[in-house]
Amino acid sequence: MSNRYIPHTQVDIDKMLKRIGVSSVDDLYSDIPQEVIFREEYNIPSAMSEIELRRHFQELAGKNRSLTVFAGGGAYDHYSPSTVAHLLQRSEFYTAYTPYQPEISQGTLQYIFEYQSMISELTGMEATNASMYDGATATAEVMFMMVASAKKKNRVLISATVSDRVQNVVKTYAKFHGVDLTVVPEKDGVSDLDAIKKELEAGDVAGVIVPCPNKYGIIEDFTGFADAIHAAKAALAINADPSTLAVLRTPAEWDADVACGDGQSLGMPLQFGGPYLGYISCSKSMLRKMPGRVVGATRDADGKRGYVLTLQAREQHIRREKATSNICSNQSLMALYATIYLALMGPEGMREVNEASAAGAHYLYSRLLETGLFTDPFGKPFLKEFTLHTDLDVAALNRRLLDNGIMGGLDLGNGLVSFAVTEKRTREEIDTLVKLIAEEKK
C-alpha cells in the first residue's frame, strides 16, 4: 500500500484491522451499495517519482513564454524583494490551518493583525478584514455589505469605469443574490457624478462603487461624490489599487465608507492569475457588516498581549443561512506576502515604486504620442497605467510584439489600448517597445 505519501506497511494494516475487529479494509466499506463502488482504473497517469515530475513540469514550462510585460488590467508586474518568497516558505506558516486555536497560532494571528494595520494605513480607514479571495469578489461582497447596512434598500450603483472583470463578477453576484445593480455610464473616461446624482434621486440606492485608478488608468477626482451620496443616505465604496494608495488620495480622504480591491499589486507574482488577495477596509460604522475574518488584539490569562479571531458573531459558521456572506477562509498566506512586502518597502519604498512606475509610464506615454500613431482620448492624470486611442490593428500589433518577447497593451476595443509600466521596466525595454510599434508606420 505504501508510497512516499502513504506510510502503511502490511504489518501496520494487519495490526490496525485486528484492533478494529474486521478482516479487511474493504469491510469498512461494506455499507456502500455494491452498484456504486468504483471498480475501474482511474484515467490518470501512473505514479511519478520526483525526477519524472520535475521533468514533466519543465516540459510544460517550456511551452510557456515569459514576456516583458507592458499590460496591467488588474495584474501588475511589480518587483518583490527576495526576502518575501523566502519567508513565505517557513512551513510553520504555510502548513498551518486557520487560527481557530489561538494559543498555537499566534504567528498567523499576529501577521494578520499587522496586515490589517498596514492596509488600513494605505486606505486610511479604521478597519480591514483578514483578506478575501480577490479584488472582484471583495467588491461583490462590498455590494452586499452596503445593502445590509442600508436596510430595506436593495439597489447599488457601479460606475462603468470600474474594471470590466470586476464588474462581471459583481454582476454575477448581484444577479443570483437579487441585488438591483445599475451600471452608471462614464463621461470622458471617468465616473459621471451628474448621472449618479440622478440615480440617487429615487431614494432607493444603498451604495455606489467607483474606482481609483479606473479601468483606463485614470486617477479619478471624486470631489462632491461623498456629499451627494451621503445626502441620499447611501454609502460610497472605492475600489482602489492598494499599491497606488501609498501616494494617491486615500478612500478615507475622499470620505468613502468602504475601500476594496486586489492586493496583487503589492509585489505578488503574476502566477497566471492567482493566488492574489482581495481586501476590504471600512469605517467603524460599517465594521459589523464587514464579511470575513477579523483579528483583534487582546490579553491572555497572565496579562500577556495576544491576538484572536474576533467579531465572529457575524460569520457563517455561527449565523448559517442568516449570514451576509458565505466566506469562511481568507487568503492568509497572501496576506503574509503583502505584509512582508510592505514591511520591506516601508513608506519610502512604496513612494519610490509609484514614482518609478509613473515615470516609466509617462515616458512611454510621451514616446507613443510622438509616433503619431496614438492619441489620448481623455487627457486626464494617470500613474502607472494609461489608455490611448489608435487606428492600428491592435491584435496584429500585439502578435508582432509577442514574436519579440513583449506583451503589449491590452486591447480594450474601439481602438483603445491600455499600457502599464512598473518599476521593473527599463528605459531600454520601453525604447524597444516604441521602436517596434513605430515600425507599423511604414
Binding site: 508510497n3 505519501y5 502503511h8 479494509v25 456502500i32 456504486v36 463502488i37 468504483f38 490518470i44 501512473s46 505514479a47 515530475l53 510544460l60 514550462a61 517550456g62 514576456l67 526576502t83 519567508l87 517557513r90 510553520e92 506558516f93 504555510y94 498551518a96 490551518y97 494559543e103 490589517q116 478597519a127 479571495y133 469578489t137 472583470r165 470586476v166 463578477v169 454575477t172 453576484y173 443570483f176 477626482d221 501609498a246 488620495r249 497566471f272 492569475g273 493566488p275 475574518r293 488584539a297 490579553r299 491572555d300 474576533t310 465572529q312 448559517r320 442568516k322 458565505n326 469562511c328 477562509s329 497572501m334 513608506p347 519604498g349 514614482e355 515616458y363 500585439n398 509577442l402 528605459r427
Partner: protein, 490 residues
C-alpha cells in the same frame, strides 16, 4: 527561552529601509504633475525596518505557529494532509510564476495544458463530465455550484425553483452559500446517525425545490447508504443533487460522486489534494458537473481543440464570471503535482487508508470517550465528549489540553447534533506510530480529567500564550496598530 513579543511597527526607526530600486533617469517627476488634490496628504505609517529586522521578525513569528510540519492535526472535516515539498518548488517555477493572466494563449500553452489536464483528472476522479477551476475555495465552490443549479432551472424557464434542501448536520457554509446564491434553505432532519431521514425528505420534494446539498460521508463520517434512493427521489421531483466535497477523501478509490447520482460538486484542493492550508488560504474549490450542466459553468473556460491546442473561451449559456481571472493557478499546480505523484495506482489507497486510520483511533478511544454512533466510520468520526460525565471536564478543556501535549485540537462543537462534539479526522499520510502517540495522549487526558480535573480545565499551560480574552476582544475591538497605540494613550 525569551518570548518574542514585538509588532513589526515597534521595530521601526525613521530612515531604515529593506529594499533598493534601480535609479531612473527620466526627466521630471511624474508624481508632481498629478494635481495635489488627487494625492494623499501624509505618507502611510508603514514600518521602516531593515531586511534583517524583517527576516528575524517573521522567523520569530513562525516559531509561534503550529503547522502540519510541526505535528499531527486530528482536525475533523479539514483533511490536514502532509504538504509535499516538491509541490512548493514546482509552483514557484519562473516559467509559470511570471505569466500574466491575460497573455496571448499561444504564449501560455504549457499553463493551459496543466489547467486542462487537472480539469480532466478531477472529472475522472469525480465521475462527472466537466470541471471549472475558477472558484477560489470550498465555500466559493459551493456558491458557484448553487449558481449552476439555479442557472440550469432558469435556462429551462423553471423560475419557481428557489428552495434548496440542506440537512441540519451540514457544514455551516452550506446554508450560507445557499443564501448568497439567492436560494431559500429548507432544512431536512437527520436520523441519530446523521444520515438523511427519507421520510422527512419526501414531503419536501415539490416543484419549488431546486435541489439538495449533501455531504457523503456525512459530517459524522457515516456513509449515506440510501444515497441511490435519495438521488432517484430528488431527480424525479425535478431537482439536482449537490455534493459537498469537503468529505471526499475517504471516497478516493472507492466511490465517485457522479456514480452515486450527484449532478454538481466542489472539491477542496487544499483538503483532498494536499495543497497547503496556508493559515487559512489560499485554497481552491473546483466545481464539477454532469454532462447536461456543462454549459452553465462560469467563464472563462479552458478547452482543447482537435489539433491539441488549448484555448481560453467563454460560453454564452454560462452563469457568468465568479473570479477576476482563471482562479488560484498556483494552488492548482500543487494539486496537479500531487495527483501525478500518487498516480492512478496510489490514489486508490488514499480513501481506504484514511478510513483505516479513523477507525483505528475510534476503536482505540471509545472506552474513554463517548461514541454516540457505533459502526464503521469513514475518514472521520465524532465523540460526544468524555465518557465519564461526572468530572465536568468539557470538550473545550480536552482540546486545549491536547495543545499542551503537542497535538492540534480536533474540530470541536461541530456537528451541532451533540453537545460536546469532538470531530476527529486523521488522514492517510499519518503513520501508525503517530496515531498511537495521539491515542496515548487522549487516554492520558481522560485520566487527568478523573484525577486532576483542574489541570485540564486550566489548559493550556505550556503554550506561548494562555487562554485569551475573546470576549474583551469582541467588545472593544482593537484591529490595527494605530488603534492599539490610541488605546494605550488613553
Amino acid at each position: 527561552m525569551k518570548i518574542y513579543d514585538k509588532l513589526i511597527f515597534e521595530l521601526s526607526k525613521p530612515g531604515r529601509k529593506g529594499y533598493e530600486l534601480p535609479k531612473t533617469d527620466y526627466a521630471g517627476n511624474a508624481l508632481k504633475d498629478i494635481p495635489s488634490n488627487l494625492l494623499r496628504k501624509e505618507a502611510p505609517a508603514l514600518p521602516e525596518v531593515t531586511e534583517l529586522d524583517v527576516t528575524r521578525h517573521y522567523t520569530n513569528l513562525s516559531n509561534k505557529n503550529f503547522g502540519v510540519d510541526t505535528g499531527f492535526y486530528p482536525l475533523g472535516s479539514c483533511t490536514m494532509k502532509y504538504n509535499p515539498k516538491i509541490n512548493e518548488e514546482l509552483a514557484a517555477m519562473p516559467g509559470f510564476a511570471s505569466l500574466h493572466p491575460l497573455q496571448d494563449e499561444e504564449s501560455v500553452q504549457g499553463a493551459l495544458e496543466l489547467y486542462y489536464n487537472l480539469q480532466q483528472a478531477l472529472a475522472n476522479i469525480a465521475g462527472l463530465a466537466e470541471f471549472t477551476l475558477n472558484p477560489y475555495a470550498g465555500a466559493h465552490g459551493e456558491l458557484t455550484g448553487l449558481m449552476v443549479m439555479r442557472q440550469y432551472h432558469m435556462a429551462r424557464g423553471d423560475h419557481k425553483r428557489t428552495r434548496v434542501i440542506v440537512p441540519n448536520s451540514a457544514h455551516g457554509t452550506n446554508p450560507a452559500s445557499a443564501m448568497v446564491s439567492g436560494l431559500e434553505v429548507v432544512e431536512v432532519k437527520s436520523r441519530p446517525n446523521g444520515s438523511i431521514d427519507i421520510e422527512d425528505l419526501k414531503p419536501l420534494l415539490d416543484d419549488t425545490i431546486a435541489g439538495i446539498m449533501m455531504t457523503n460521508p456525512n459530517t459524522l463520517g457515516m456513509f449515506e447508504t440510501e444515497i441511490t434512493e435519495i438521488a432517484k427521489l430528488v431527480h424525479e421531483a425535478g431537482g439536482l443533487l449537490y455534493y459537498d466535497g469537503a468529505n471526499l477523501n475517504p471516497m478516493l478509490g472507492k466511490v465517485r460522486p457522479g456514480d452515486m447520482g450527484f449532478d454538481i460538486m466542489h472539491i477542496n484542493l487544499h483538503k483532498t489534494f494536499s495543497t497547503p492550508h496556508g493559515g487559512g488560504g489560499p485554497g481552491s474549490g473546483p466545481v464539477g458537473v454532469a454532462e447536461h450542466l456543462r454549459h452553465f459553468l462560469p467563464n472563462p473556460r479552458v478547452v482543447k481543440d482537435a489539433e491539441g491546442r488549448y484555448h481560453v473561451t467563454a460560453d454564452s449559456e454560462s452563469l457568468g464570471s465568479i473570479s477576476t481571472f482563471l482562479g488560484n493557478f498556483g494552488v492548482m499546480m500543487k494539486a496537479y503535482a500531487y495527483i501525478l505523484s500518487l498516480g492512478k495506482e496510489n490514489i486508490r489507497n488514499v480513501g481506504p487508508m484514511a478510513t483505516l486510520n479513523a477507525n483505528y483511533i475510534k476503536e482505540s478511544l471509545k472506552d474513554d470517550y463517548l461514541l454516540p454512533i457505533e459502526g464503521a466510520c469513514k475518514h472521520e468520526f465524532v465523540f460526544d465528549g468524555l465518557k465519564d460525565k461526572s468530572t465536568d471536564v468539557t470538550t473545550l478543556n480536552v482540546a486545549k489540553r491536547l495543545l499542551d501535549y503537542g497535538f492540534h485540537a480536533p474540530t470541536i462543537y461541530f456537528p451541532l447534533l451533540f453537545h460536546e462534539s469532538m470531530m476527529i479526522e486523521p488522514t492517510e499520510t499519518e503513520s501508525l506510530e503517530t496515531l498511537d502517540e495521539f491515542i496515548d495522549v487522549m487516554h492520558k487526558v481522560a485520566r487527568e480529567a478523573r484525577e486532576t480535573p483542574e489541570e485540564v480545565k486550566n489548559a493550556p499551560l505550556t503554550t506561548i500564550v494562555r487562554k485569551l480574552d475573546e470576549t474583551g476582544a469582541a467588545k472593544n475591538p482593537i484591529l490595527t496598530y494605530r488603534a492599539m497605540k490610541e488605546a494605550c494613550a488613553k
